[in-house]
């Protein structure tokens, strides 16, 4: 380790006094605190870090800044960790990805060797594995094993906590380079609350890795930022920019959801690779990557380097590396006429106009062939430093809604229009030094010229995609997957555009090639971080735990948890019919409508009439939309001249509150709407013994004479103030008790005690569904849909077209009335014991669909399947024989009925 390090120098990130040991491929490696996994491994002699995605070519360090995919490894079971961005930790277990049986001897590299005869070029999946079709499952298995970056352990159980935090700041700066630090300090010095996000292990960007000359400037900037009170999140990265400048920032196991008043993008620029033969060999490195290793980690494990460049950045890199002690043999500059005097002054051979042709070597670089006008030069080296200039990191600008344009002067894309609240500074804004000449396309060689390092897409693949008709960058991207890998185009976006321009004969130095759409996440991000602590709001009634503790099978019913049944739904149905049952209906929506205009308001809202209601009475009502369709139903109780208590369906509670409030605001009526759904628990005590049982808990006169069907009254029951509604959704004598939720469990227990002599049973949702179906009571949303109007739903009696006031849906319903019904909602009973599936079709005489089953259950009491269906009017007469389709291929014979199946005259309800 130590012998591969250069002498200690200001600006290095490592702490040589503290050694850190970890496992790499099962053997122990020791680095220094401050090392990344990559730098420590490099110091220990590792050159191959990964195998490429498709061809399994050996890959070594290239960018050393988290931009390329070459050093993705598995750390402590987590795949796709960027080794060059992850600090070493004592005891961590690091393994390779995507190689078998080992990283050094990967049999799967034979896939690459077979190219192109095996057809491994772009699109080979589609072209190769369709014959024979029956073999696809086998192909799929093999391909899935061979492809991908790492494997997830299906047995792994997460023990770590991941968190998400909502953050508000005045200014969020993404990027801790020179421009970002400047912007952050300036904003904080104005008294603004500023947070800065830096992905790397060191602040300062190029100031940090560009050599010792910048140290003074960097130190001063960091001191200024700290003095101004800037909050620094590091290492952390912005995963994207969403609408409203929402920026998820990932730091460790925490996702910070930033909503800044101002977003400053200071993401800098990214150095681009050059495209030439074997440009992915271990030992081919970006200039900035090599400089990071030398200047920040003090590594110099090379004997001899050659620099390949198309920009001044390569020249600067050559001088910096030479200054750091690297033996730079030559600089091949593809430009002609650039000033190479500084290079020559440093004693380095300067090869003007030479461009790279191909790197030599199999598992590592041993040399390079450069060419100019047919002249070839072969240079021996073990490090090839390449610099294809840099491009502005504008992906986050695009994601945030900004526009970008090609700037010919700078030869790069720069931000054009920005959304409110966004600012771009530094190299990302295009203010840095020009990107240099657009690199010319490398001459063809027999070697792979890799454009996309993530997906192993070569120049040949892109050319082939164009030949096959994918004739633009966006189309080629979809076909070849270029720019779609973990780097999200950082390393290949520019070069793929250049290859396409070359193939299509376009000017590479123009906007004609275009750009692809940038989408989040900007970096590979763990699902654990995205999920973090989930929010799953659950509504529980006041008796939730009683149900669960007494065998209730709790299931989701909308947002609520409700008991499906308590283990024996049939006996729960029987209990209600024969003696006594108790159900929790607290989920019903409940609204107070109160004020001088309350009656008039309800008259306008419902097709029913409510102004004529007597006090202490309840009436069933439906609510229609403007188009006359049924949107909800429930009861309305008149509690005083100006006060009504309205119930809605459970799922409709929120919507009805909005509906009521909206129309109240529109009509400017003198009434108030208060949603008391949360406040009130509600229980329905039902069955022939309901009166007897309830009487033991109250002095309230429950006799039929004093409190008849559809009555409403106030009573103190077991010490609890209740509104009692005498209604019956389940078809038996019943009392719906509405009471303060806090007393819910208390009263429930008292009711169960009072019912004990009558063998009371709690009943759940499923028994309730059977019971209501026996009475042919509809459920809005199940038996009706967005086109169901009350006339066709068999409720013409509810529609008061003679009301003086206008009401919502009146116009449409009048039209329906003039038109006449086309469909009718009817009951049916099946004869052969079959129970149709809800949603299935009624088959007409001609064998075509003629109607739809909306509800279907087997009623043990009635000994047959019963249900509700929409039928054409002409097939809906009482007694009409229909056939209902059965998934088994046959049909179920049934008969139409219009009367309730159970107690059709309602005698039991009114008893």
């Amino acid at each position: 380790m130590a012998e591969r390090r250069l002498a200690q120098r200001q600006g290095e990130l490592i702490d040589r006094s503290q050694e850190v040991s970890f496992q790499w491929e099962g053997r122990e490696v020791t680095g220094y605190a401050g090392d990344t996994i990559a730098s420590a491994l490099y110091a220990a002699g590792t050159r191959v870090f990964s195998r490429s995605f498709k061809y399994h070519r050996p890959r070594g360090l290239m960018c050393c800044s988290g931009q390329c995919p070459n050093c993705l490894v598995e750390v402590d079971g987590q795949p796709t960790v960027r080794a060059c961005m992850t600090p070493v930790e004592q005891g961590m277990d690091v393994k390779h990805l995507n190689a078998w049986p080992s990283l050094q001897r990967d049999f799967l590299h034979l896939v690459g060797r077979l190219t192109p005869s095996f057809g491994m070029q772009v699109g080979f999946y589609y072209k190769t594995f369709i014959h024979p079709r029956r073999a696809w499952p086998l192909y799929e298995k093999i391909l899935r094993n061979a492809a991908g970056l790492g494997k997830l352990d299906p047995e792994h159980r997460r023990t770590e906590r991941f968190d998400k935090v909502h953050r508000h700041v005045d200014v969020l700066v993404i990027g801790g380079g020179e421009a970002g630090l400047e912007a952050a300090a300036e904003a904080a010095e104005q008294g603004r609350h500023v947070a800065l996000v830096e992905e790397g292990l060191a602040l300062g960007g190029q100031l940090a890795w560009g050599g010792p000359r910048s140290n003074g400037r960097l130190t001063a900037l960091i001191e200024r930022v700290n003095a101004a009170g800037v909050e620094i999140l590091q290492p952390a990265y912005a995963g994207g920019v969403y609408e409203g400048l929402l920026v998820p920032v990932f730091q460790g196991r925490t996702m910070h959801r930033f909503r800044p008043a101002e977003l400053v993008i200071a993401t800098g620029s990214i150095e681009q690779p050059l495209v030439f033969g074997n440009n992915d060999l271990p030992g081919v490195m970006l200039a900035s990557g090599a400089r990071r290793l030398v200047n920040q980690f003090r590594l110099m494990p090379w004997e001899q380097a050659v620099v390949l460049t198309s920009s001044d950045e390569g020249l600067a890199a050559a001088l910096d590396l030479a200054d750091g002690g690297v033996n730079v043999l030559a600089v091949a500059d593809s430009r002609r006429g650039a000033d190479g005097s500084a290079i020559e002054d440093a004693g380095i051979e300067y090869l003007a106009g030479f461009q790279p042709w191909q790197a030599k070597g199999s598992k590592a670089v041993t040399g390079v062939v450069v060419t100019r006008d047919g002249e070839h030069r072969t240079l021996a080296c073990d490090l090839l430093v390449m610099s294809g200039g840099s491009v502005g990191q504008t992906a986050l600008v695009s994601q945030g809604g900004g526009g970008i344009r090609y700037d010919r002067d700078q030869r790069r894309y720069v931000p054009d229009s920005l959304p409110d609240g966004m600012r771009v500074v530094g190299a990302a804004a295009g203010s840095a030094a020009a990107a240099g000449a657009v690199p010319a396309q490398a001459p063809k060689t027999g070697c792979k010229q890799v454009v996309c390092f993530c997906e192993d897409v070569t120049t040949k693949d892109i050319a082939l995609s164009l030949d096959e008709g994918f004739s633009s960058l966006e189309l080629s991207k979809r076909y070849t997957t270029v720019t779609m890998g973990p780097c999200q185009g950082r390393m290949c976006h520019r070069n793929s555009g250049l290859v396409i321009a070359d193939q299509l004969g376009l000017d590479p130095d123009s906007q004609r090639v275009g750009v692809t759409t940038s989408r989040p996440p900007h970096n590979p991000t763990s699902f654990s971080l995205l999920a973090a602590r989930g929010y799953e709001p659950v509504k529980r009634t006041s008796t939730h735990h009683w149900h669960a503790e007494h065998g209730g099978k709790m299931l989701w019913a909308g947002d609520w948890k409700r008991p499906y049944d308590y283990g024996d739904g049939d006996s729960e149905v029987d209990a209600v019919h024969e003696s006594l049952g108790l159900i929790d209906v607290s989920t019903l929506g409940k609204l107070i409508v109160r004020g001088p205009d309350a009656a008039a308001f309800l008259e306008r809202l419902y097709p029913n009439r409510f102004g004529d209601m007597k006090l202490a009475r309840v009436r069933y009502g439906i609510v229609c939309g403007d188009d006359g369709s049924i949107i909800d139903d429930g009861t309305v109780a008149r509690l005083s001249e100006q006060e009504y208590y309205v119930t809605t369906t459970s799922s409709g509670a929120g919507g009805m509150e909005q509906w009521f409030t909206w129309w109240n605001a529109v009509w400017k009526m003198d009434c108030e709407i208060v949603n008391v759904t949360s406040t009130i628990a509600a229980f329905n005590l039902a069955g022939p013994n309901a009166r007897t049982a309830l009487s033991t808990l109250t002095d309230f006169d429950l006799s039929n004479e004093a409190f008849p069907y559809l009555g409403a009254g106030h009573a103190q029951i077991a010490g609890v103030p209740c509104l009692v509604l005498r209604i019956g959704f389940v078809g038996e004598l019943g009392y719906e008790l509405h009471l303060p939720a806090a007393a819910g469990e208390h009263l429930w227990e008292k009711l169960m005690e009072a019912g004990e002599p009558h063998a009371v049973k709690p009943f759940g949702l499923e028994p309730q569904r059977v019971l209501r179906l026996e009475k042919m009571h509809i459920i809005v949303g199940q038996d009706t849909n967005a086109e169901s109007n009350p006339l066709e739903a068999g409720m013409p009696w509810i529609v008061k077209l003679d009301k003086e006031s206008d009401w919502i849906g009146r116009y449409a319903i009048e039209w329906y009335k003039r038109r006449g019904n086309r469909l009718t909602l009817v009951g049916w009973e099946a004869q052969n014991g079959g129970v149709p599936i809800e949603g299935t079709q009624v088959v007409g005489a001609d064998g075509q669909p003629a109607g739809r089953i909306t509800s279907s259950r087997f009623s043990r009491r009635l000994g047959k399947a019963i249900g509700i269906a929409w039928l054409p009017v002409e097939q809906s007469e009482e007694g009409t024989a229909i056939r209902i389709s059965d998934p088994k291929g046959s049909t179920i014979p049934a008969t139409v009925t219009h009367k309730a199946f159970y107690d059709p005259d309602g005698e039991r309800l009114r008893s």
Binding site: H166, P537, K539, A616, A741, A742
Partner: protein
């Protein structure tokens, strides 16, 4: 029908006689080993005191709450001209001004019925509803109260934006809530049906920050005084 002065008396747990009143979090308190003590008919959780916790949560669902709606001028008059988003604390009673036509009054449970009747009697145009068991309540406190809150809601509670004596309505743990800053102790009022979820979620959000459950009687000003 029985004749009642207030047709909506059945909304109010204050009218209960001898009934056990429970908050939605009672099972959580029991599981956490808290004692349940009777307080005005409510079973209120009593936790061992721990004043040094960096963050704490108390179930204050039993506190009295009144929803007040009416014309702008009436609400202005009743709230003594409170600005929107501001809250006042007078004689043990909080008044929160949520919108021009909507205010919320928080008071000890023993005073809720009397106070509601008084507000309602001020004007026929005023609609005052006892929402004591319409909203479950959690009070968050401790040095790291904001850190807990930031893990629960996207609302901006930085001191500059949400100082003491202010209130707002918004989403906490994805539930519609009313939030009051009571001298850097946050009241979070949510639907009664969400009470247990809210309690569990807030404690989970604060788990890594060292949050602990505490007794309402130890943190509610009115009850501490009592």
């Amino acid at each position: 029908m029985s004749t009642v002065a207030d047709p909506f008396a059945f909304l109010s747990p204050a009218a209960a006689e001898g009934a056990v009143l429970r908050t939605p979090m009672e099972r959580n308190h029991r599981r956490a080993g808290a004692e349940l003590e009777d307080r005005d008919g409510w079973r209120v959780a009593d936790y061992p005191s721990n004043g040094d916790a960096p963050a704490w949560a108390a179930d204050i669902s039993h506190h009295g709450k009144i929803d007040v709606r009416g014309p702008h001028a009436e609400i202005d008059r009743l709230s003594a001209g409170l600005e929107l988003g501001r809250a006042s604390h007078v004689d043990g009673v909080w008044t929160l001004r949520l919108s021009p036509s909507h205010a919320v009054v928080l008071c000890p449970f023993s005073r809720v019925e009397q106070l509601r009747a008084r507000i309602a009697s001020e004007s026929e145009a005023i609609c005052a509803t006892d929402m004591t068991c319409g909203w479950a309540g959690v009070m968050l406190g401790g040095e790291r109260v904001r850190d807990v809150f930031m893990r629960s809601s996207s609302l901006d509670v930085r001191p500059r934006r949400f100082p003491a004596g202010t209130c707002m309505a918004g989403s906490v743990m994805r539930c519609g809530s009313i939030i009051l800053n009571d001298d850097d102790r946050f009241w979070v009022l949510c639907g009664w049906e969400f009470g247990e979820y809210m309690w569990e979620s807030l404690l989970d959000a604060g788990a890594m920050l060292g949050i602990i459950p505490v007794s309402a009687t130890a943190v509610l000003r009115s009850e501490v005084a009592a």
